[in-house]
């Protein structure tokens, strides 16, 4: 397997107005959406688009998620998400995330994605898909 730093990518995004709630902070459910955006970008940075997998009957729904909130983020904050492919198994892959705003830790998260077919039944990760998860960012 590639060395850990190779399995890391960074994604930046800006908090949208509609992502805040009446406490004036980002509603917690949005962090799963931020992690997903970061994961899609992690793949892009390895030359892969998730849709090409969907077209071949490979889907990767989230089957487990954990979120630890450290500090609230607010409207218009610029957030940085560090995404690491942490564990690859026969039919699943685990990502961990660190969301920061400048020096502030905002949220730590992890998600496990399972590989399923068009009928949503568990299947082994195809070799070419598994290979992508061990790939460093493209030059």
């Amino acid at each position: 397997m590639a060395d850990p730093s190779a399995l890391t990518s960074h994604h930046e995004l800006q908090v949208r107005f509609c992502e805040t709630d009446l406490m004036g902070i980002v509603h917690h459910a949005n962090y799963l959406i931020y992690c997903e955006a970061a994961r899609v970008d992690w793949l892009h940075k390895r030359g892969v688009s998730y849709e090409s997998w969907v077209a071949h009957g490979v889907h990767l729904p989230v089957v487990r998620a954990k979120l630890d909130f450290k500090k609230a983020a607010q409207f218009d904050d610029r957030l940085r998400i560090e995404t690491v492919m942490a564990q690859l198994s026969r039919a699943s892959v685990r990502f961990v995330y660190r969301i920061t705003r400048g020096d502030d830790a905002i949220c730590e998260a992890e998600t496990v994605l399972a590989c399923v077919n068009d009928e949503l039944r568990l299947r082994r990760l195809p070799a070419d898909v598994a290979e992508v998860f061990q790939r460093p960012e493209s030059a």
Copy 2:
């Protein structure tokens, strides 16, 4: 065509916390979601589930929408949506909505849905689908 009152149904819902924004009011994009929930319920009340149409290659995406906001709604407000099938054409159907909270008018809206096939190409509304839009609530 059935008389207008027959083409009207009512749906109630409660504002969710995540639907508010930092102004403390319902974020305006949620009203399109409320109208959609009311429309799905309008169909249920005529004995139809939208999925059965999807299974037969009939999709009804929104192609036009208009929203007029009268008063802000807030977290936990109980809203009532009056939904009327206002116009039926060969390949589209127009609904109008009045969203109220008690005596307060909150929002008036309308949406036009076009009938498309699995390739998202415009198609005539099948006769059995068009019939549903002229149907009163089931007993």
Copy 3:
């Protein structure tokens, strides 16, 4: 403390169209929203509205969340959420959730809420708020 079954309530909801994604299933971030709706209802069933606490400078943001997805839910599914107040501490409260569709287990989740003041600083749960979390449903 009241006996465990007293600390349990049930909430039902119907999956909205916009809550599905292109896999045709409920997007996983929505389960945090379902849990929140169930929690708000848990309070209502004890005669309390969350806003009244907000008005007194008591906020309860989610500081930890865990989700285990068992089976996919789909558009229009009727889901039932069993919500249990599982642990009460000085400045936080933990809820666990079991989301089902008929006999199918869909999702198991838990969230920890921390008590904070208007400046989002941790504070002890006021006695009257702590009392509510140990209360059975109102007659």
Copy 4:
């Protein structure tokens, strides 16, 4: 008033997975969110952050919206939003939007924002706020 092209800005964004629905296309409610993101960016490009107004009791909720959908957008599509300040009145401002994907017209929209105070009561746009809406992008 500045010449019309000066009142125009462009914003790019990428469609998120969670913004699609089971038709495999962007759910229509998200376009209001895209327009809002473009509007926030329009202000940033004139050196203004919306929060600074909020801090001074100036809020600009959407009071009217119109959307015309031309073509469906899909997951991961890169969209470009042209935003024009189209009309400035005493207590409101109207923006129009053209959302495109390459040469494809995806959506045309407009929103009217009203100026309200902390109690959500209509108020005149302060002179310094009105001035911003007539400003070209900062160098």
